[in-house]
């Protein structure tokens, strides 16, 4: 599943991730595209608290930040 969280400031990307990942089966991934550099800190922090795993973060040539999350079992 993909989530477009571009141009959203903290904590909206986390709120959107929280809502979206509820629809992702455990073990499947959610790919988030965002522009707020703080998301590089916050989304992994939130994932640690909720038992999800960040499997990849990268910055695209456009400057967009991509974060790939593998959903844990807790909803």
């Amino acid at each position: 599943m993909d989530l477009d969280a571009r141009y959203l400031l903290c904590p909206m990307p986390v709120i959107r991730v929280s809502a979206a990942i509820a629809h992702v089966a455990a073990g499947d991934t959610l790919t988030v595209r965002c522009t707020d550099p703080g998301a590089l800190h916050d989304i992994p922090a939130w994932c640690r608290l909720e038992g999800h795993e960040v499997v990849e973060t990268r910055t695209e040539p456009s400057g967009d930040i991509m974060i790939v999350i593998r959903a844990g079992g807790r909803k």
């Binding site: 550099p37 590089l40 800190h41 916050d42």
Partner: protein
């Protein structure tokens, strides 16, 4: 055993007091989770992080950092729509600027009350300290918040508990009142000492956590309402008030001008909604135009945009004008001279 524990939700702001209040509950074996409400006006390092020239600022969400230190879950709840009524119609009025602190506190604790009812939690905890804030943390307003939120005696303020009547969690023995605290006033030395003892990192207590307490922000919000002839706002309005220079050179329109690359990039996200301007042959800002302009007004907007770019000393600068629908035109203008940039245009 976990299932036998009493459950508390802590309003976790990211500041020191709520961090300590949560820790006091954990120390008593309470199951604690955090809740943090997004009103749209929250001040976070991210607002500054948009600016790429401010890399020294901490860019983490402080409430999340608190939750990580405590090892508890954090529920970040978007209350922006419901919060509008608090901002627009505060029953208890505003503080120094547009901050409806007492109504805000009652609203948030009311939201927490609904949350604990839905999730089977027993009580609500805040980091409020008696006498610390002029509106919402007074002996006469604590009961107002408890009553108007509907939380009543399920609202525990552990940092000032000894100075307040016992609440349900104390009377029922869910928490030991003797192991709570009797802090009051604005002196934060006891909290800082406790934080040191626990080894906590915390956001420095300064500047408040809400843009509505900020004089400059409140001025821009009032200008927005005045320009519309009515007091209303949406999500994008209040986000944009946090970003860029805001200039109103004419009653009918204003410009939001990026101050550096990060802000320009953020403003790019609004190109589909607003006419936007940028210099074609010189480095410079992206400017969003809000409102209505005639030909003279558009020339002025272009001249201002050119003024803030690297072509400011040139005789003429070509400025692109793009409509929200995608139509792009261009104008050849003389950058506005510095002396013509009226100080009262700045919001």
């Amino acid at each position: 055993m976990e299932n036998d524990k009493r459950k508390a939700i802590v309003l976790l702001s990211g500041g020191l007091d709520s961090l300590l209040a949560a820790r006091l509950m954990l120390d008593q074996g309470i199951h604690v989770e955090g809740i943090n409400f997004f009103t749209g006006f929250c001040v976070e390092g991210h607002t500054h992080a948009v600016r790429r020239d401010r890399k020294d600022r901490v860019v983490r969400n402080n409430a999340l950092h608190s939750a990580e230190q405590l090892g508890i879950r954090l529920h970040i709840v978007d209350v922006m729509d419901d919060y509008k009524d608090v901002v627009l119609n505060p029953r208890h009025g505003y503080g120094a600027h547009l901050n409806p602190c007492l109504d805000c506190k009652a609203f948030m604790i009311g939201q927490a009350r609904s949350w604990i009812e839905q999730h089977g939690f027993d009580f609500i905890v805040t980091g409020e300290v008696l006498g610390q804030r002029p509106m919402s943390q007074r002996r006469d307003t604590f009961p107002v918040v408890a009553r108007e939120s509907g939380a009543l005696d399920r609202l525990l303020r552990p940092l000032s508990a000894w100075l307040l009547p016992p609440t349900l969690p104390e009377r029922e023995g869910w928490v030991d009142r003797e192991r709570l605290l009797g802090l009051s006033g604005r002196n934060r030395k006891p909290q800082i000492a406790l934080a040191r003892a626990y080894g906590f990192e915390y956001a420095q207590p300064s500047g408040g956590c809400c843009f509505l307490t900020d004089e400059n922000y409140a001025h821009k919000l009032k200008d927005l309402w005045a320009s519309r002839g009515e007091r209303r706002y949406d999500f994008d309005d209040i986000m944009l008030l946090k970003i860029g220079r805001h200039l109103r050179p004419h009653p009918s329109f204003k410009l939001i001008i990026g101050r550096e690359e990060g802000e320009n990039r953020f403003l790019e996200g609004y190109r589909h909604r607003f006419t936007h301007l940028w210099a074609l042959e010189h480095k410079g800002p992206l400017a969003l135009l809000q409102g209505d302009v005639d030909e003279a007004g558009l020339d002025l907007a272009c001249a201002i945009t050119a003024r803030f770019g690297q072509g400011r000393c040139e005789a003429r600068v070509r400025v692109a004008v793009s409509e929200p629908g995608g139509t792009v035109g261009e104008r050849d203008v003389a950058p506005l001279p510095a002396h013509a940039l009226a100080t009262d245009w700045y919001l």
